[in-house]
């Protein structure tokens, strides 16, 4: 038990220490009036707002955003992996789809938000759609690029054993692509959080992005930053979760 705690401290202690230092500097900067609190509220004010709004923040808005992130990430994960794999197997698909994929990333959300609303209305799906749009790209690229990497000797060996493309894919290419894929997933899960936030700007009735926008129009910066704090926390937790998964999956693999 104690050693676990120690490991945990070793892992995150330094970050926490730096964070605490920075937060203190921040507090001091705001208190000294170097930055007006309505532009950058003091950490204590943010904390207060967090406590005051804890019920709606934790009870309503956080779960709503989290749900959007989960659904969006889930779909991106499945779709992105499938697409990356398909593009790996089919040169034609790759040539046709890659440009569209890039196009999808360069379109500013503002331009297609009306289209999303037309298609999905103000349901959760318009937010999920934005999340997918944002998370899809890194997953596809990292899957596709990961599968491209090396291992041709292993592939040849399996061929001589009579293995088909699919078997080789499963037994050689996937294990070798795993580091790259996990790298993409880590990015994607973080983007999902900001994707959901942007999605909530298209129209929502709950969620941290919605809350922050509303508070922003009320000029309550402390509440805006309270929501952002929770968003960041969500991003970090999800990232750590994928990192953990990565360690578990790759642990005894490519060493």
């Amino acid at each position: 038990m104690r050693s676990k705690w120690k490991r945990w401290a070793g892992e995150y202690g330094l970050f926490l220490l730096t964070a605490i230092c920075l937060i203190n500097i921040w507090q001091w900067v705001v208190e000294a009036g170097m930055v007006p609190s309505f532009i950058l509220p003091a950490p204590t004010a943010i904390g207060e707002s967090l406590v005051n709004n804890r019920e709606i923040l934790l009870g309503e808005h956080l779960p709503a955003t989290f749900l959007e992130v989960l659904i969006g990430f889930g779909i991106s994960l499945i779709g992105g992996l499938l697409l990356g794999v398909s593009m790996h197997f089919s040169k034609i698909l790759e040539k046709v789809l890659y440009p569209f994929l890039i196009i999808s990333q360069t379109i500013p959300m503002i331009a297609i938000s009306p289209i999303f609303i037309m298609w999905f209305g103000y349901t959760i799906w318009s937010k999920v759609a934005v999340t997918i749009l944002v998370a899809f790209f890194p997953i596809v690229v990292s899957t596709y690029d990961g599968l491209k990497a090396g291992g041709s000797e292993y592939r040849e060996l399996l061929l001589t054993m009579g293995a088909g493309r699919w078997t080789i894919f499963k037994k050689v290419q996937v294990p070798m692509a795993l580091p790259s894929i996990m790298s993409g997933l880590k990015m994607a899960v973080v983007y999902c959080v900001v994707g959901a936030t942007i999605g909530e700007w298209l129209g929502a009735s709950e969620g941290l992005g919605y809350f922050s926008r509303r508070m922003s129009s009320n000029l309550q910066s402390d509440s805006v930053f309270a929501a952002i704090f929770l968003l960041s926390l969500m991003g970090i937790v999800l990232f750590l979760f994928i990192s953990l998964l990565e360690k578990k999956l790759i642990k005894n693999k490519i060493r």
Binding site: E153, E156, L159, T160, G162, A163, T167, P175, N252, R255
Partner: protein
């Protein structure tokens, strides 16, 4: 036509007029190479480093496509030779993310055989090969010779009739090698496998083979080993054996 089919049917491996070139602007590695392996034969392939022994194996397995000529396995002239022979590559090529057991199970997995049963069988083999305690070790925890033994075992587990072994015992000490020899001879005698065997050890070649093929630029030179079977490792000190070895050495030197 009929004759050709008849001829090839009796052979496990039939290669005719094989020509292969890696790069267009380079010299061909083989020109008009022909050879035959009867079912149940044990044949060694020797030749200078870089003469194309491993390349020939890759052609037979179907990994490379011949430029000209044909390759038949058990009478089947098909381009789909992949998966028809047991091939042990020169590098061990153990998958680094799989344990010894998982690596040896690979051919069975591909053939969709019952894993549990096979694992049992493999465990028996592992202890015969002196690898009993390494079932769950990863390749990077093994010594060079151990890796080779695992790769060899993996090839055996393909269960094919024709085995192509590319320097299977190169990294083994003489004692371990001897164990493997007697074991390989046993397998070959019992199960009537056909073996094509690359080695640089002339003693090994003489001890194991019915015939020795000398691969050289000009083609293949055959040398028949007229020693009675069963043979054992003591044979190498017999005068016939030593004279054979000297003859073979002369042949190689002469060819150069």
């Amino acid at each position: 036509m009929r004759e050709e089919i008849g001829l090839s049917n009796s052979n496990m491996l039939h290669i005719e007029d094989l020509t292969y070139t890696f790069d267009r602007d380079m010299q061909p590695i083989f020109q008009q190479l022909s050879l035959d392996l009867k079912a149940g034969e044990f044949v060694s392939l020797i030749g200078p480093s870089g003469s194309g022994k491993s390349t020939l194996f890759k052609l037979i397995t179907g990994l490379l496509k011949p430029g000209q000529g044909k390759i038949q396995i058990a009478g089947n002239l098909s381009s789909g030779r992949l998966g028809k022979v047991g091939y042990m590559p020169q590098k061990d090529l153990l998958l680094p993310w799989r344990t010894v057991m998982e690596n040896v199970l690979l051919p069975s997995e591909i053939a969709k055989e019952d894993k549990r049963e096979k694992a049992h069988e493999i465990r028996a083999w592992l202890s015969r090969f002196g690898l009993k305690e390494y079932e769950n070790a990863y390749p990077d925890e093994l010594s060079g010779g151990m890796k080779q033994r695992v790769a060899f075992l993996r090839t055996i587990m393909t269960g094919r009739e024709l085995l192509l072994l590319d320097e299977p015992f190169g990294a083994l000490d003489s004692l371990t090698k001897r164990t493997m020899h007697s074991w390989l001879l046993g397998l070959w005698g019992e199960l009537k496998k056909t073996v094509l065997f690359i080695t640089h050890d002339l003693e090994e070649a003489i001890l194991l083979s019915d015939r020795i093929l000398l691969l050289q630029n000009r083609g293949v030179l055959e040398y028949k080993v007229n020693l009675p079977r069963p043979r054992n490792s003591e044979s190498i000190y017999q005068p016939e054996f030593i004279s054979m070895r000297k003859e073979l050495e002369r042949l190689i030197q002469h060819e150069e």
